[in-house]
């Protein structure tokens, strides 16, 4: 490498980047960038504090929190898929139907046709990928608004799954492997080891990146901020592990969820594909002119979204020990809401996959907390509706505040 040559001229950094020219960031802009998660986190803390106080501490017990996290696994995985589609500036209204359809495909294959669990799960995932492929092709090539395509798909698939179940309303899953997927807890060695390993890799990467930028004469973030970042991530990861360990251990489904989020995060932020997803969501015409195959990106993202929905369906069937003909009526909105509450813009191009955990936790906490207070579906749905409207309103307001500043 010409590293040595480059090192001799660190001048560009100082001559091109003039920090004083940066307009003082407004609160709205801060909320859109680095600190976007803070209001969401505060909301979550307020909700948690409220339920902790009104349920006499029951809400914050490790047992309840473990259950809460298990309850949001499916929403989280679906929200991950929704996030990908939202980043494109599109929407997928078929995630709940696809998720349920795929779980039915798996259930029917194992329970009625004696197919082994592995093949049945694979069939479910392939079904998911196919439905996403169809959505994507219709959106990308026939140019039908994704809203319509996926709404039609949702209706169609809810009929298809009724057909597959042939009148049966609930199909119990007996297969032990499938049941173990979401209901098992990892042994302590793995439960503590895997997250810690991931954490160490993350810290190593952050430090490596810092050193490398420093060496090449690029601007680095202040060391205290870097350390703070590492400390915060460490506290979150090890805190979560400690919480789970003080009940039954780290649930396997949590590892699935965080693993999938991690994969999508790497894909979105470290690869050209992810960059293209953001580019298409930000300005599809600019992306096209830059030589990006926009239809291909759209098809790929819709396929990934539905495949994730299928994974969510498999995990839900495993946790519920059954597949049902009835699609959970709040599942679709919950998963999109989790993404939007987590700061993913409905207008495309903005948002991170990590914050959807916060969104899913808020929705899960409301549901779980109101359950503890023995509130019915009526109250739960009204509260959730209000929270969702607030989240979307915040998104729109922040966006407008930014637009007002102009260029």
């Amino acid at each position: 490498m010409s590293e040595a040559v480059k090192q001799k001229q660190p001048a560009p950094t100082t001559s091109v980047e003039v920090p004083s020219r940066l307009p003082r960031p407004t609160v709205g802009q801060l909320l859109r960038t680095d600190l976007g998660f803070v209001p969401v986190l505060l909301t979550l803390l307020v909700i948690a504090a409220y339920f902790a106080l009104t349920t006499g501490g029951l809400f914050l017990t490790p047992r309840n929190l473990s259950n809460l996290v298990l309850q949001i696994t499916q929403i989280g995985v679906l929200a991950l898929g929704s996030t990908l589609v939202l980043l494109l500036g599109e929407i997928d209204l078929s995630v709940a139907a696809v998720s349920t359809l795929c779980s039915v495909v798996m259930g029917v294959l194992t329970e009625r046709h004696g197919v082994s669990a592995g093949w049945a799960i694979l069939a479910a995932l392939v079904t998911g990928a196919l439905t996403g492929l169809i959505n994507g092709l219709l959106v990308a090539f026939i140019r039908i608004p994704s809203f319509i395509v996926t709404l039609a798909a949702s209706i169609g698939y809810s009929g298809l799954l009724l057909y597959l179940l042939a009148g049966q309303s609930t199909l119990i899953i007996h297969d032990t492997f499938i049941v173990s997927l979401a209901n098992n807890y990892l042994p302590d060695a793995l439960g503590i080891g895997l997250p810690t390993l991931a954490l160490l890799l993350y810290i190593g990467f952050v430090v490596f990146n810092y050193m490398r930028r420093k060496r090449t004469g690029l601007r680095t973030q202040p060391l205290p901020r870097l350390l703070l970042q590492i400390v915060i991530v460490t506290v979150i990861v090890e805190g979560a592990v400690a919480l789970f360990e003080s009940y039954l251990g780290v649930p396997q489904s949590v590892i699935f969820l965080t693993g999938l989020i991690l994969l999508c995060w790497l894909l979105l932020t470290k690869t050209p594909f992810g960059r293209y997803v953001y580019a298409v969501g930000g300005n599809a015409e600019a992306a096209r002119r830059a030589g990006i195959n926009v239809p291909l990106i759209r098809v790929a993202v819709f396929t990934m979204c539905s495949t994730l929905a299928a994974i969510g369906g498999v995990l839900a069937a495993s946790r519920g020990l059954a597949v049902a003909s009835q699609i959970d009526p709040t599942l679709l909105l919950d998963s999109i809401a989790a993404a939007v509450i987590g700061g993913v813009s409905l207008f495309g191009g903005k948002g991170s996959v990590w914050t959807l955990i916060l969104g899913a936790l808020i929705i899960g906490s409301l549901e779980n907390g109101l359950d503890l207070k023995s509130q019915g579906t009526d109250v739960k749905e009204m509260v959730e509706g209000v929270v969702l409207v607030i989240a979307v309103a915040a998104d729109a307001l922040i966006r407008r505040a930014q637009a007002r500043r102009g260029r």
Binding site: P12, V18, R21, L22, P23, N209, L218, A286, R289
Partner: protein, 279 residues
């Protein structure tokens, strides 16, 4: 009016460019009709390396059509295109890009949500090892190109939505340099800009010339044109009607050529000065 008789006097009047040298880009006898409308008839066009050419004309004069033909968006009905003397067929925008012909349109085509580095390398990302983006080397290269163009921005890691109009224009232009452009076409680069930002962009155009690029500026603003260009080519009603060397021309005479109406009178008035214009 014959094109040749107008363009000949300009070539010798550019000593630095040596009239014998082959232009970086040359178009001959370009015609293009949209239905019954003849947008361009038998137009010649040339731009040399290290030269800035201003392409001016009234609305409907055929400027946009000519630019679209050069950038591959439209194909000419007849005529030939030579890139450094080699005949080329520009059958699409991607072909133009491959040949090193880059166009910066008025709308800039930037992704507001992406940072400066991401925008500069969009579609041409560098990788560490597949499929990992090489942020460090892209950032270095971005800083290098921006410093060559003397662009000042707060940081290359801010989303371009936070930049001023002039800065955004600079990013759009820097993008073409990164792709090793040989010919850069700028469509109304100063149209939406304030005074200071216009200055910034004009400075940028001068930098492009210093880099040895062939630059074509399409503009309505004659003051800007006269500030940076070496030659002005005037289109009117689909024909090339005049070519001026800015050193020996005045904005009044260019306006006269653009509008056509009071052309003769202006020539009489300035005739004694012995300009480069013949009619």
């Amino acid at each position: 009016m014959a094109d040749s008789s107008i363009s000949t006097p300009t070539a010798p009047s550019r000593p630095g460019q040596t009239g014998v040298a082959e232009p970086r880009l040359r178009l001959t006898g370009i015609s293009k009709a949209f239905g019954a409308v003849q947008a361009l008839s038998n137009v010649d066009f040339e731009v040399y390396a290290g030269e800035v050419v201003g392409l001016v004309g009234d609305n409907g004069a055929g400027k946009s059509t000519l630019v679209k033909i050069i950038s591959g968006v439209e194909q000419a009905d007849s005529g030939e295109i030579f890139l450094e003397g080699t005949p080329v067929k520009i059958t699409g925008p991607s072909v133009a890009t491959r040949l090193g012909i880059e166009t910066v349109y008025q709308d800039l085509a930037l992704c507001d949500n992406l940072d400066v580095v991401a925008n500069l390398f969009l579609g041409h990302e560098e990788l560490d090892i597949w499929p990992v983006l090489s942020e460090v080397s892209m950032e270095r290269e971005a800083l290098r190109v921006l410093s060559v163009l003397d662009v000042k921005i707060p940081s290359v890691r801010v989303p371009v939505s936070l930049l001023s109009g002039g800065q955004r224009q600079s990013i759009a232009v820097a993008k073409t340099i990164l792709r090793q452009a040989r010919v850069v076409l700028l469509d109304e680069p100063t149209a939406a800009l304030g005074v200071a930002q216009t200055r910034q962009v004009l400075n940028l155009i001068k930098r492009l010339r210093e880099q040895g690029l062939a630059v074509v500026v399409i503009s309505h603003n004659l003051a800007d044109v006269f500030e940076v260009v070496d030659r002005v080519i005037v289109l009117r009603l689909g024909r090339r009607v005049a070519t001026f060397d800015v050193k020996s021309a005045t904005p009044e005479r260019v306006v006269a050529a653009i509008t056509g109406a009071e052309f003769g009178a202006e020539v009489d008035a300035n005739g004694a000065n012995g300009g480069g214009l013949q009619s």
